[in-house]
């Protein structure tokens, strides 16, 4: 079952025969049915699919918020399927940044403190937390807004705070779940530009869930999920790492 097949260099993400079965009362829901997917470090991937296709389940799985019922998910060579809750929390804290559709900032808490949140759980000295969070806000163009509360910021600015929060730990993987779903066109463009820049300039792997083709167009690879499996997987730009598509 779970051998790594001598694939070199080890991929950032390698999913093999991933199954997720939920039980809703008497009904078994197969959200993932033996899904296989490999994503290399530095890719910008858009995951598309209709609702109920299993793409949300896949995102939860990739984000280490959930564990598969069956199969393997190697993140940086670690089989996540076997980890305990606290170890998953550590991986989320150190390797993954989340950007949500509804921003999910903590209310009545300043932009700086929102961006600081992941470091809070790492036990860094307070001064260092502040400095890193301020730097992250600067990277998303929010210098000077550190003390603003979410309600004092526009939707686009709130999403940028969320991106700063995701970036502050310098993760290798950024997961964005419909990041522009609640934003107007102009703000959407801003957010996508930031994600694109992070991918191009800093080499952060970005995985994006969306159902808007023009948003998906920012990515260099498009994976369509249907019925818990990969339906299509194609590179849409040529300037990306040229390894083969997911198995």
């Amino acid at each position: 079952m779970g051998e790594i097949n001598g694939r070199q260099p080890a991929s950032l993400i390698h999913c093999e025969d991933l199954w997720k079965v939920y039980r809703l009362g008497d009904v078994e829901v197969h959200a993932l049915r033996g899904l296989n997917l490999t994503i290399e470090q530095g890719e910008f991937v858009a995951i598309m699919g209709s609702s109920g296709s299993g793409k949300s389940t896949l995102m939860n799985m990739l984000g280490c918020l959930d564990q598969p019922t069956n199969g393997h998910y190697w993140l940086n060579g670690v089989d996540v399927a076997r980890l305990r809750a606290d170890e998953l929390a550590d991986i989320r804290n150190r390797q993954i940044g989340f950007v949500f559709q509804s921003f999910n900032l903590i209310a009545r808490t300043s932009a700086l403190e929102n961006a600081q949140l992941p470091l809070f759980y790492r036990g860094l000295p307070l001064r260092e937390q502040r400095a890193l969070a301020a730097a992250a806000l600067e990277r998303v163009g929010l210098k000077g807004r550190e003390q603003h509360y979410p309600t004092q910021l526009s939707g686009g600015q709130q999403q940028r705070v969320a991106i700063a929060r995701a970036l502050v730990t310098r993760p290798s993987l950024l997961l964005a779940d419909e990041p522009t779903g609640n934003l107007d066109t102009e703000s959407s463009r801003e957010i996508m530009t930031i994600l694109d820049r992070l991918n191009k300039e800093e080499g952060i792997t970005v995985i994006l869930v969306t159902h808007e083709p023009d948003i998906a167009a920012y990515a260099s690879r498009e994976v369509v999920i249907k019925d818990g499996q990969v339906l299509t997987d194609r590179h849409t730009k040529l300037n990306e790492p040229s390894n083969a598509a997911g198995i």
């Binding site: 939860n60 550590d90 989320r92 809070f120 790492r122």
Partner: protein, 411 residues
């Protein structure tokens, strides 16, 4: 971890200060509970100290032996109505009960006392010279009886403060003055310092002492020479009281020729017994009020639990976000526990202040003595900490066990 803890405490305080009314109402139970505990214990301690002070006015390690009750055709009269104790019993006890430091006796009667145009009805005691030292009476003015006074049954009197107040003009010198007790002229030789109220509640200073011999022969009149109203004794140490009581009982039973199946024809009381009796009343009250306070603290704790459960529900998404960015279960658990403890400690602190103010007011308004002890304050503080931890644990655990995916999706 210190940075995490510090920030968590800051966050908790901030979250609570956002909802001041809610936090205040939640704390109210703890405030009332702790305030009640502090006030009640202060009042209880004050009452206890007052009783102890009263009991202390009896003397030091005092034992009182009262004659038994008479029984006439099945009707038992009150304690001390039968003549069973005599002066010679007292002298005998001093020899037979080695634990006793001193023994004395007294006999009393209420009579009218006259000084010039003033008169006063007062308890007059005929006493052995040792009586005053057993009862730790001291003189404000003048002195006690001399052996000659006792031997000659001299007409000399020692008077208490209340008697001075009622029988003499302000500024009039009582010592050396002549008063008449039951029409017999007496010379005042001493004035006693005030002792105040006794543990039983009567005025100890409303009293006149004359030598026992004088009382017997010249004032009271008696059909049975040597009979006493009560015998008094004292021991060197408190620990000696109980064994001394046994020695007295055995000696008196032998002397009174009591058979094994006969009851004692006397009653022995010690200062400690009397003190306990008095303290018992205030302790019952304290226990009762403390249990009310405990119920109040319980209700306060449930209030905290309730509001935290609401808070966990309200902040489900926040908990989800925290988990998504790497909060472990224990981080969430600690966060909510700290909120609970902050609430309960704040409530406890306010309660301590309320309790202290309440105790002070009781002293000022009702005039009851109160004592606020540091240990009570510390205990109340620790107790509110425990209440916070105990009642915070369930909601905190509920928050920590949330599934991050469901929490993030919660509307």
């Amino acid at each position: 971890m210190p940075a995490f803890l510090l920030l968590t405490i800051v966050t908790a305080v901030r979250i609570l200060s956002r909802n001041r009314l809610r936090a205040g109402l939640t704390m109210l139970g703890i405030v009332i509970g702790v305030g009640a505990v502090i006030a009640m214990v202060s009042i209880g301690e004050g009452a206890k100290a007052a009783v102890q002070a009263q009991v202390a006015t009896m003397g030091t390690n005092v034992i009182i032996i009262l004659p038994g009750a008479t029984t006439a055709t099945g009707v038992r009269a009150g304690q001390g109505t039968k003549v069973t104790l005599t002066v010679s019993d007292g002298i005998y006890l001093k020899k037979r009960a080695p634990l006793l430091r001193d023994t004395g006796w007294a006999k009393r009667d209420a009579m009218q006392v006259v000084n010039g145009s003033r008169n006063w009805n007062v308890r007059v005691y005929g006493i052995s010279p040792s009586y005053l030292s057993i009862r730790d009476w001291s003189f404000e003015n003048g002195g006690g009886f001399t052996q000659t006074d006792v031997d000659t049954a001299a007409r000399v009197a020692i008077i208490g403060q209340t008697v001075v107040d009622n029988l003499f003009e302000a500024g009039e010198e009582p010592v050396g003055a002549a008063i008449r007790i039951k029409n017999v002229p007496f010379r005042v030789v001493g004035v006693l310092t005030a002792k105040g109220q006794s543990a039983e509640g009567w005025d100890q200073d409303d009293v006149i002492f004359i030598p026992f011999s004088t009382a017997e022969r010249k004032v009271f009149g008696t059909s049975f020479f040597g009979s006493v109203g009560a015998l008094y004794a004292s021991t060197e140490n408190v620990e000696d009281l109980a064994p001394a009581v046994e020695q007295i009982r055995e000696a008196l039973r032998v002397r009174h020729r009591l058979q094994a199946d006969q009851e004692d024809d006397f009653t022995i009381k010690t200062q400690v017994d009397i003190g306990k009796l008095q303290e018992g009343t205030s302790e019952t009250l304290t226990v009762m009020l403390l249990s009310i306070a405990a119920v109040s603290l319980l209700v306060g704790g449930i209030g905290i639990m309730n509001i935290l459960l609401v808070s966990v529900t309200e902040r489900t998404r926040e908990i989800g976000v925290r988990m998504a960015v790497g909060a472990k279960r224990r981080h969430i658990l600690i966060q909510f526990l700290i909120e609970a403890v902050t609430l309960s400690l704040l409530g406890g602190t306010i309660g301590i202040i309320v309790g202290i103010v309440g105790a002070r007011l009781t002293t000022v308004i009702a005039g009851w003595p109160t004592i606020i002890s540091g240990s009570t304050v510390i205990a109340a503080f620790l107790f509110s900490l425990v209440v916070g931890l105990f009642f915070g644990l369930y909601p905190a655990n509920k928050a920590a066990r949330l599934n991050p995916i469901e929490a993030l999706r919660y509307e």
